[in-house]
């Protein structure tokens, strides 16, 4: 869902909130192209770092609708490059340049 911008900055991630109204928590923007630096001089960026960054920089209201403790709240699926993060190690999933991270809030309506 969207392409990363062309410049070759390390750790550039495209990520989006396409399904389930999560975009309402960050000024109704669904797709964000972001550059996130690894923390404390670490060489790699992982999902834990990204969540911390998202919470600090993008979530404008009601953080409890996005996170619980140090992970996402129940009912949110996290996809890294269209794959459930359960398959890549959840919070320890290492992110590469231009990875696409998607947060989906499960729907119940019909």
């Amino acid at each position: 869902m969207g392409m990363a911008y062309g410049h070759n900055h390390a750790w550039e991630s495209v990520f989006s909130f396409p399904i389930g109204g999560l975009e309402l928590l960050c000024d109704s923007v669904k797709i964000h192209n972001v550059n996130v630096e690894p923390q404390d001089g670490a060489k790699k960026l992982d999902m834990k770092d990204l969540l911390t960054w998202v919470r600090g920089n993008l979530i404008k209201e009601r953080p409890e609708m996005f996170m619980k403790g140090d992970t996402v709240r129940p009912g949110i699926l996290v996809l890294v490059n269209d794959c459930d993060w359960e398959l890549s190690g959840q919070l320890t999933t290492t992110l590469e340049d231009k990875d696409v991270v998607v947060f989906i809030s499960t729907l119940h309506g019909g």
Partner: protein
């Protein structure tokens, strides 16, 4: 005037009676037509056996697929598909599928499943058809407004295909009846609209070993996947803990573009047909995400069956008995039925009824009315001279209320004992209570909520006031 009112209600009653009779007659005609077709087929066979026709033509069962000549003709476009063909159609005709919910998702799902010849098609729903369903629940006709959805949906399915067996389950699905109902079918389609139903249906499918085609739609987005299929994950593998109730939005509150559940419902029919006919690759271990606004569909890979899953995992002990005793409303903190939430947060003297508020207007009592609904709701309809301050922005806009109260006091004089009163209204009377609670905390001691909101106003004061 009195006799006019009496005439109108007499006519309305007669219309209702006639409509009910009409739909019963239509159903009876469909059933008789189906019987007639059976008789014709049997008669044809008799003629062959009696030797009055040369035995060139053969009994259709001789082909091994069991399709009658009528069936061959009706389903010919399926039979012509090399990847589907007569075997898959024969599987469909012998299959049984249960659709839970005859709403936005269930409408197209049921119509396609009926049309394609599912042998036994069950429908579960306890609701009646309402006018505000019609924009998306395309299986229902206007003449069925006020009648059970199951009855309306069954009549529509029979009018498309009178040769199949439709089973009406006119009841809410509960842990007490779910095992009994769902065990009668090969495939279950979840077309419901709330979190507790989704957990209950998935758990029951695991207990009974049934594949589950699960769809959901809200606003301009939809989701689809197949659970508990061929060793794949169940709903709880994906969502072991229910989301907070604030994250469970309903179509009745958040809105839904009619065609969006229509698209997801069609895809649910497709997945159910694939499973029942054993053709193709069902959407298990994958999830389809549909974003109508940007015209994007993505299919993502989701986790497999979780060994730790409480219901389908390796050491799970989730039995029929456990299921029947499980409290899904408590587990998800939300009700199984779709009846809207009715909060009761305030003491009685912080509240007034809509009739009492009407009297205050008639008596010209100085007051300010704050409507705390979102702006797009306010644009649909509002009470005269109300000011719109949506609940989330109340905190930052208190000064507007203060100046409105001052203005009202200047204009109408301060001879009344307590000065102008502050009233708060919303759609149903829940957010207005939250607002009044907050306003009292902030020193607005005259704040009262109008009980039942604008829906109460329409019901008790002004029947011509639009509801939505």
């Amino acid at each position: 005037m009195e006799s006019n009112g009496g005439d109108a209600s007499r006519i309305l009653r007669e219309i209702e009676t006639l409509k009910a009779t009409k739909s019963e007659i239509e159903q009876r005609i469909s059933a008789l037509e189906a019987q007639l077709r059976e008789i014709k087929v049997d008669h044809g066979n008799d003629a062959i056996l009696n030797g009055s026709c040369p035995p060139i033509s053969t009994n259709h069962s001789d082909f091994g697929h069991g399709l009658s000549p009528d069936m061959v003709y009706r389903y010919s476009r399926h039979l012509l598909l090399p990847t589907f063909g007569v075997q898959a159609q024969s599987n469909i005709l012998k299959s049984s599928i249960l659709v839970i919910g005859a709403g936005g998702l269930g409408s197209p799902a049921l119509l396609y499943l009926a049309a394609c010849g599912v042998g036994r098609l069950g429908i579960v729903d306890h609701d009646v058809v309402e006018l505000n369903n019609m924009h998306r629940q395309i299986i229902h006709r206007e003449e069925y407004i006020g009648q059970p959805k199951v009855k309306s949906a069954a009549a529509a399915c029979l009018s498309v295909n009178s040769t199949i067996n439709i089973v009406e389950h006119k009841e809410a699905l509960r842990t007490s009846n779910a095992l009994d109902i769902m065990s009668q079918y090969d495939v279950v389609v979840d077309a419901t609209d709330n979190a507790p139903s989704r957990y209950m249906i998935s758990d029951c499918c695991v207990v009974l070993g049934k594949p589950l085609v699960s769809g959901a739609a809200l606003g301009l987005e939809g989701q689809l996947t197949v659970y508990n299929y061929n060793g794949g994950p169940c709903y709880r593998c994906l969502f072991p803990t229910p989301p907070p109730t604030t994250a469970c939005q309903r179509c009745a509150d958040s809105g839904v573009l009619g065609v969006v559940p229509g698209i997801i419902g069609c895809l649910q029919a497709l997945e159910a047909i694939k499973i029942a006919s054993t053709v193709g690759e069902p959407l298990s271990g994958r999830m389809l995400l549909f974003d109508a606004l940007s015209s994007r569909i993505r299919i993502v890979k989701i986790r497999g069956r979780s060994l730790q899953c409480e219901v389908c995992g390796e050491n799970a002990t989730f039995s029929r008995l456990r299921f029947q005793e499980f409290d899904y409303e408590k587990f998800t903190q939300s009700p199984l039925s779709t009846s809207p939430l009715k909060l009761n947060l305030l003491q009685a003297d912080y509240r007034i009824s809509s009739k009492e508020y009407k009297e205050k207007i008639v008596n010209g009592e100085p007051h300010v009315l704050v409507d705390v609904r979102p702006q797009h709701h306010f644009k649909i309809v509002s009470l005269p001279s109300s000011m719109n301050i949506p609940l989330p922005s109340l905190e930052t806009r208190l000064s507007e209320i203060s100046s409105a109260l001052e203005g009202e006091s200047d204009e109408k004089g301060t001879n009344s004992r307590s000065g102008p009163q502050l009233y708060v209204v919303c759609r149903r009377g829940n957010d207005s209570q939250r607002a009044v609670q907050y306003l009292h905390k902030m020193g607005f001691t005259s704040a009262k909520d109008i009980i039942g909101g604008l829906e109460g106003w329409a019901r008790d004061v002004d029947p011509n006031f639009p509801t939505y």
